[in-house]
Symmetry: D2
């Protein structure tokens, strides 16, 4: 944990919370998405991929809500590779309370790489090499 | 008021509210936007416009927040034409408490019609006729 | 399917979509949440529960994104009981394209009933009876 | 402009954009709100105010949308005091493209200080002193 550089740090504001005064379920997905993009763009040349019409398509999100997070807390978001398959990638993401490092939420995110027609493509060659770079995200 | 058919009726849920337990400022803009689209598509052939690359571009929103709306309330949203100019249209929108008809928020929304290049175009001929149809929105 | 009254019907607008022109992952969770509340309040006296400090706490969401939904589509949201356990309830929710009835997304939502201290409570007696009413949601 | 420390810098992501591929109108209000809270908490002891039941109540937002901001841009948000009146404060906020410093949107935000009953209070004595500290936000 020492010295790890987090890409995504979020101070919880009133507009992140819902009626119960806690971060809303849907908002967590935005926090996870923020860190995914930050990690992807730090490792992969996304512009070249976009020019080729290749997109990341999330097909499953499985998220555990472990702690109710009140306004005023500072959160860290982490992203690690869980598994790289032939046609899909599973990422593990966590939202941590910055001070105590307690896990507020964790999620497995499964995505595929799709071409212009919207169909998932097999990851091979250079594309696979690029995807493998995600493993270089320093584990927490 | 009698018998007016509202296009947009919204029950306020926990996820619409923020830390203070009231509908959040940004969420009101979504409620206004919901009714604008409902009104526009009930009067104008938006698909033909989209096919021509013509879009509605909001250039100013001036919104008064008059009442804090708690979870559980039912809201109505209204849209009237305030002014149709040569290059811009101003709509007046209101969010009302359904039961008391008190105004929770009202707004003036100014938009222009832009072409593919993103530049505002003069409204003339058939386009102006279509825009004029917005006046047929029954006033409240 | 014939004659089933849906509580939640949503016309997909431009502000629901993201950069790819499709409904955003986080927005789906709001659509599911909308129907959960509509179903819960149609069966359960939520105000009495709230007065006792009892809340629904979502602990897991497992959602499959099956179809990319473009702007202009009309969606239906459904909620069925998957399982009522001693300390948790699992709901199955679906988002359907209204016209074709194709499933755009489905999800298992696990929640617990928590008291003022935020701890999950066992569902017994009158509370369990109320929860059992959710089974009366007409299956699709 | 040289050496000014911005509190709020935002990389525009796909989930910030709408159907048109540009940052959505409602999302801009969240960007403004983010910087308001960052500025307020850097100058004012908000926790003490909250303990006294005193809240900031936004009563008007007047926002000009000047440039369509695409995904991938980096934005800066600024907050300056426009006017401190007896019962209300007007802030001027801007969203700038980081590279060119062009103004993408600007807004006047009027808020009042309200007590537990929701009524606006006159700003005097220590409260006024605290509010005056907002002027120390370094102008851009």
């Amino acid at each position: 944990m020492n010295g790890v550089q987090y890409l995504t740090e979020i101070k919880v504001r009133g507009y992140h919370a819902d009626f119960y005064g806690h971060v809303n379920n849907a908002r967590y997905l935005e926090f996870f998405e923020e860190d995914r993009w930050a990690q992807l763009e730090s490792k992969i040349d996304l512009k070249r991929w976009a020019a080729q019409g290749i997109i990341f398509l999330v097909v499953n999100i499985n998220v555990n809500y472990r702690l109710a997070v009140p306004v005023g807390e500072t959160l860290l978001v982490t992203t690690d590779v869980e598994k790289i398959g032939k046609r899909s990638v599973v990422l593990q993401q966590k939202i941590l309370l910055k001070e105590s490092r307690k896990v507020a939420a964790d999620a497995l995110i499964t995505f595929v790489i799709a071409d212009k027609s919207g169909r998932a493509v097999s990851m091979e060659g250079e594309m696979l090499q690029q995807i493998e770079k995600l493993r270089q995200i320093e584990p927490v």
